[in-house]
């Protein structure tokens, strides 16, 4: 009998529940099934069945058409404006991904409905009966977790997961400025894009050079800002220095001012006619304007220096906090041993600070690895480098990808490069994550 109930629910949702005499629950499942078929039929399937539309996949309803679009990416290009029925590959791809996800959600409900019919019937066989109302009451406390995360999960699904899946898919197509839908159709090309990146020399050399500069930048930026912050924190904390609060408050300013504003201001100041060139020329140090942002070595130096300005206050505040928590008894012990200020710093303060701030150093390195704003607002990746594929000398990976995507419209290459970077980062951080206690405990 319990198999009959299960089978009934599998074909007509909720019918098993009806047999189990759980009317409300059965009705809810049945309505969900009706919605599913209503969507599919009303968006085209009905026309195909009744013969009003040609029996083609493209004329079917939302779900079948979605799957068809995702697999074929369209069949009719819009060669000129006279073509009225045409396929837009990108729309088909996104629509396909979305409808597949919705289909999966329906399948999930379907499985839930089948399992529920089976389980309830087993309970009835054992002489227990639960009314739909009790079930709903129990459901709230039992699925509290799922109900609470549903809004967030749906949002992340549509705004983060689906777009990321879309761009991963793009890497396996030929979608770039040479094939622009709807005039052209996009095709699945497998690993062709990845092969191009490896085999066409300019892509490979650009990628490797930018990767090296990105890593150098991430480390240089972090350690220069950290050292400067450390130095100032220590100096302000020195015994006998007055107005400690004043100095700290003043030095926090660069952190408080919005980064975009200060970077754009720096860009104006490092301009050929900007404040620094004027200042240096007036002081007689240089005769003609220095190419701060148009020479690659200069531009890279400026990037790191301005990052010290923007980044040191955070580390200074952090380190000041750590220093106040070091027990004074430790310093007294050094006094007893006859050590001076330097010994105190090297033997006590520095180790304490480094251990306490190690996680922030790591975070800062990963942040700078992807520090789009700093590079883009200050130099926009420039000066342009002719040896690179669509990149400038100060471009880091993320700004290069941004240009490839939005300015150059080389979508498939940008997507493929993101995947390569993702695999690199994921391997490193994945190994790290598996070893952390936090994750093992779960």
């Amino acid at each position: 009998m319990k198999y009959v109930v299960t089978l009934c629910s599998a074909i007509i949702w909720g019918s098993g529940q009806a047999i189990n005499k759980q009317w409300i629950k059965g009705a809810v499942f049945f309505i969900v099934q009706c919605i599913f078929w209503f969507v599919e039929l009303s968006t085209g399937l009905l026309d195909v069945i009744t013969g009003r539309a040609e029996p083609l996949f493209r004329n079917c309803g939302y779900f079948i058409r979605g799957l068809w679009g995702l697999i074929t990416l369209g069949e009719i290009p819009r060669l000129d404006s006279s073509v009225l029925v045409f396929d837009h590959s990108v729309m088909l791809m996104i629509g396909g991904i979305i409808s597949t996800f919705i289909l999966l959600l329906f399948i999930l409900v379907w499985i839930w409905n089948i399992r529920d019919a089976y389980k309830t019937h087993v309970l009835i066989d054992h002489g227990q009966k639960q009314s739909s109302l009790d079930y709903v009451k129990g459901l709230w406390e039992k699925s509290f977790e799922y109900i609470m995360i549903t809004p967030g999960a749906l949002l992340v699904l549509f705004i983060s997961v689906i777009p990321v899946l879309f761009s991963i898919s793009i890497a396996f197509t030929n979608y770039n400025r040479n094939t622009v839908p709807p005039r052209n159709l996009i095709d699945w090309t497998g690993f062709q894009t990845f092969q191009d990146i490896v085999q066409i020399p300019i892509w490979g050399t650009t990628f490797v050079s930018i990767l090296i500069w990105t890593i150098c930048w991430a480390f240089l930026a972090t350690f220069s800002a950290y050292s400067f912050g450390l130095l100032n924190a220590v100096l302000i904390n020195t015994k006998g220095i007055l107005f400690k609060k004043f100095w700290r408050g003043l030095y926090v300013l660069p952190w408080a001012v919005p980064g975009l504003v200060s970077l754009l201001v720096f860009r104006a100041m490092f301009n050929r006619q900007g404040a620094f060139n004027t200042l240096l020329m007036n002081m007689g140090i240089i005769d003609e304007a220095l190419p701060f942002l148009s020479n690659s070595t200069w531009a890279r130096t400026i990037l790191v220096l301005t990052n010290v300005w923007l980044g040191f206050p955070y580390f200074m505040s952090l380190i000041s906090g750590v220093m106040t928590s070091i027990s004074p008894e430790l310093y007294e012990a050094v006094d007893v041993d006859g050590g001076g200020g330097w010994t105190k710093f090297r033997a006590i303060s520095l180790p304490a600070i480094l251990t306490a701030t190690a996680p922030q150093i790591v975070m800062s390195i990963t942040f700078n690895f992807n520090n789009f704003g700093h590079v883009y607002f200050l130099t926009q990746g420039g000066p342009p480098n002719p040896a690179f594929q669509m990149a400038g000398s100060t471009d880091i990976l993320i700004t290069w990808l941004f240009k490839l995507t939005l300015d150059q419209r080389m979508y498939n290459y940008a997507a493929a490069i993101s995947i390569i970077i993702f695999i690199m980062i994921a391997t490193v951080s994945g190994i790290n994550l598996m070893r952390t206690r936090a994750f093992k405990e779960d």
């Binding site: 990108v90 996104i94 629509g95 509290f144 977790e145 799922y146 609470m148 995360i149 967030g152 999960a153 949002l155 992340v156 549509f158 983060s160 997961v161 689906i162 777009p163 990321v164 761009s167 100096l235 302000i236 020195t238 006998g240 220095i241 003043l250 030095y251 926090v252 300013l253 952190w255 408080a256 001012v257 919005p258 504003v261 200060s262 754009l264 201001v265 860009r267 104006a268 100041m269 006619q273 900007g274 404040a275 004027t278 955070y314 505040s317 952090l318 922030q360 790591v362 975070m363 992807n370 789009f372 993320i398 990808l401 941004f402 995507t405 939005l406 997507a415 993101s418 993702f422 994921a426």
Partner: protein
């Protein structure tokens, strides 16, 4: 002998202090110079980068007047303010509830969810931008500030969930258990016990999600091209782009930069304790 040693010691100490003060003053100048320069430039009557200076001759507020009367600065400001406040409200709500569930309950899919979030975070944030553009186009959400809010809120969840969860994990579990024994529901435990105790992290999330729309450039540039829905970052960036001659206006840019920097910087200074603590706790993800 002892006395003589002391004198040289004292002199040495004064020299060291003198050097430290000198250094502190130099750093103060480096810190203040760009800030004073932009304030000075915003008061400059001559609209040119090369004539910009810290103390302009014939200082005037004309640039501020022009900024407000002739450009759409106030509209940009209002738009960005709307996006920032909505983003803050919804981010706080969703981040805290989601993190609460991930911190306190064992349920199927929890580990997978946390791992998925971590994977999502390793993709560059604009990876999905073309898709977002297409989705916005499809649903008629281009040039719509609410689309920005939705995307910012969605983006805040993967960014913050580990951090907030870590903070909630640090609250003793005995608190919840005592409440459950007294017959409290899961919702009550969350609202009455855990939420009041996590005010510092709530403040942190509220602040960071409020701040980020002010300076985001990528997303509005992609999704918005009409003046009446332009945000501050785009407007300011255009004012400084020599290629964009219609909008290029250096001194008005300076005035606009000063006007947005002052309120944001004030917020930072007031709440800096929360910001530093929040960032510091982020690294010990739930350990």
């Amino acid at each position: 002998m002892v006395h003589k040693h002391n004198t040289s010691h004292v002199i040495r100490r004064y020299i060291v202090r003198g050097i430290i003060y000198l250094w502190l003053v130099i750093v103060a100048i480096i810190v203040l110079y760009p800030l004073l320069w932009v304030i000075g430039s915003s008061l400059n009557p001559i609209n040119s980068i090369s004539r910009a200076s810290m103390i302009p001759e014939g200082a005037t507020f004309d640039n501020y007047v022009r900024l407000i009367s002739e450009t759409n600065y106030l509209t940009w400001f209002r738009n960005t303010g709307y996006v920032a406040i909505m983003t803050m409200l919804f981010s706080v709500m969703l981040n805290i509830t989601t993190a609460f569930v991930f911190a306190r309950f064992k349920f199927r899919g929890r580990k997978a969810g946390l791992l998925a979030v971590m994977i999502l975070n390793t993709f560059p944030s604009f990876m999905g931008m073309i898709a977002l553009y297409m989705i916005a186009l499809n649903f008629g959400m281009l040039n719509n500030l609410n689309m920005l809010v939705i995307i910012y809120v969605a983006g805040s969840i993967p960014t913050n969930i580990w951090l907030v969860r870590g903070n909630l994990l640090n609250l003793p579990k005995s608190l919840d258990e005592a409440a459950y024994i007294d017959g409290a529901s899961k919702m009550q435990v969350f609202l009455r016990i855990l939420l009041p105790l996590s005010l510092p992290i709530v403040t942190f999330i509220a602040l960071t999600t409020f701040m980020s729309p002010w300076m985001d450039y990528m997303l509005p540039r992609l999704l918005i091209n009409r003046t009446e829905v332009t945000t501050l970052a785009i407007g300011l960036f255009r004012m400084l782009d020599p290629a964009d001659s219609a909008n290029y206006d250096f001194t008005a840019f300076c005035a606009g930069a000063v006007l947005v920097a002052i309120p944001i910087a004030t917020l930072y200074m007031i709440f800096q304790r929360f910001l530093i603590e929040g960032l510091a706790s982020g690294a010990n993800k739930g350990e």
